[in-house]
Symmetry: C2
DNA sequence: TTGTTTTCTGAACAGTGTTCAGTATGTTTG
DNA sequence: CAAACATACTGAACACTGTTCAGAAAACAA
């Protein structure tokens, strides 16, 4: 009786249909301007149907947030094959920023919007955990290579992630109005590069 | 003819009445759950009346965002009288984080939400400019005191602000799920303190 | 073909931001 | 003082939103 398996498959296809349409609309029009009714129209179903496959809008957003993480992890993959640990670290920072600039809506969903996070609350955030794990691994490599002084990997990774995230969050939410439009890109790059230098100098072992 | 002046004053009082009620409701119930109608009910006016004093909801949010900056600048005032420049810098960082934790709604409005920012767009963001100026001044003092190597004040200030902002933004938007609840506070503090040390070591003049 | 289960939908509910004609109030002028 | 004007306010409506649910339609089982 493969019939229940086919049903399961059809169910998954329907979820995909909804998610693909939703993502397309979100990327086209931004989040504020896309409603359940819009998505339903796009796939030619009734709005009520969507609620047969997603508990509510937040669950739909959370599914897209997961998709965003899959894309991000895929984007990061090539970096992990670089040789020098510190180059890896810098490349990851740049990739993070680039991901945010090129996929602002996804990034928003992944790291800024509250909505998709409301459903899990105190529960473990596996997507974030996985991505953070990547960073921790590279930090560990930097320590193993003697580039960073040995100390809590978690704390160092946290500091680095926060710093990179800060730039991107402020940029995406248009909080860089104090820097003239024309200089902005330059200042951002300079600040990133300064951060890398500062890390290198500030975290290196004392006897180096 | 002080009559038009009185009208002007009454107009300002009405704006205050709306803003005070709005802020109270926002702090009580969060942003998502407060509507123009709620605010109108609270001050016992019709919803339409609010539109005589604010162009739309975004303008109201922007006014509250300004109020948030006034509070923040006031909170920062005592710090500016500290003696050692680097102590000032650290105190500012801590004050920024503390402000965010103690006034999450205001902070949201000031630095995260897109809504209040939509109205000015490319225009100058005077509130942010002013606050950023405070930071730039302290960074300059650190350079003058020989604690930091001389370089672009703007870039250094940018780097520091971004880093501190990163922590708070991730924390407020519940993106620290990979750190167990119990350790979180500890890790955050450790990361902040590590950042201060890293700055000190990474930005000090070469010959020191 | 009948009965049962699953999948879907129209219509409604309670809410949102916003507009506007019309009323009520306050101010100025003849 | 009364008429004319200006300002302040509101009820009702518009076009939306997320969400629910009784009942129609389709798919499956006997």
């Amino acid at each position: 009786m493969g019939i229940i398996e086919r049903k399961e498959r059809e169910r998954e296809e329907m979820r995909r249909l909804v998610l693909d349409a939703a993502l397309r609309l979100f990327l086209e029009n931004g989040f504020e301007k896309v409603s359940i009714r819009n998505i339903a129209d796009a796939i030619e179903y009734s709005p009520a149907t969507i609620y047969l496959y997603f508990k509510d809008k937040n669950e739909l957003l959370f599914a897209l947030h997961q998709q965003g993480f899959m894309k991000m992890v895929a984007d990061f993959q090539p970096i992990l094959h670089l040789e020098k640990p510190f180059d890896k670290l810098m490349a990851m920072g740049q990739a993070y920023i680039r991901f945010a600039v090129e996929n602002p809506q996804l990034f928003d969903l992944m790291f800024i919007m509250t909505a998709p996070m409301d459903k899990l609350d105190t529960e473990q955030w596996v997507e974030g955990d996985q991505a953070f794990g990547l960073l921790e691994r590279v930090v560990t490599e930097c320590m193993d290579a003697g580039i960073f002084e040995r100390q809590s990997v978690q704390v160092v990774a946290m500091m680095i992630w926060s710093s990179i995230h800060g730039y991107t969050a402020l940029f995406l939410r248009k909080r860089l109005g104090m820097i003239p439009e024309c200089d902005r890109h330059q200042v951002m790059e300079a600040a990133f590069s300064l951060f890398c230098d500062t890390l290198l100098r500030g975290l290196r072992p004392e006897n180096a």
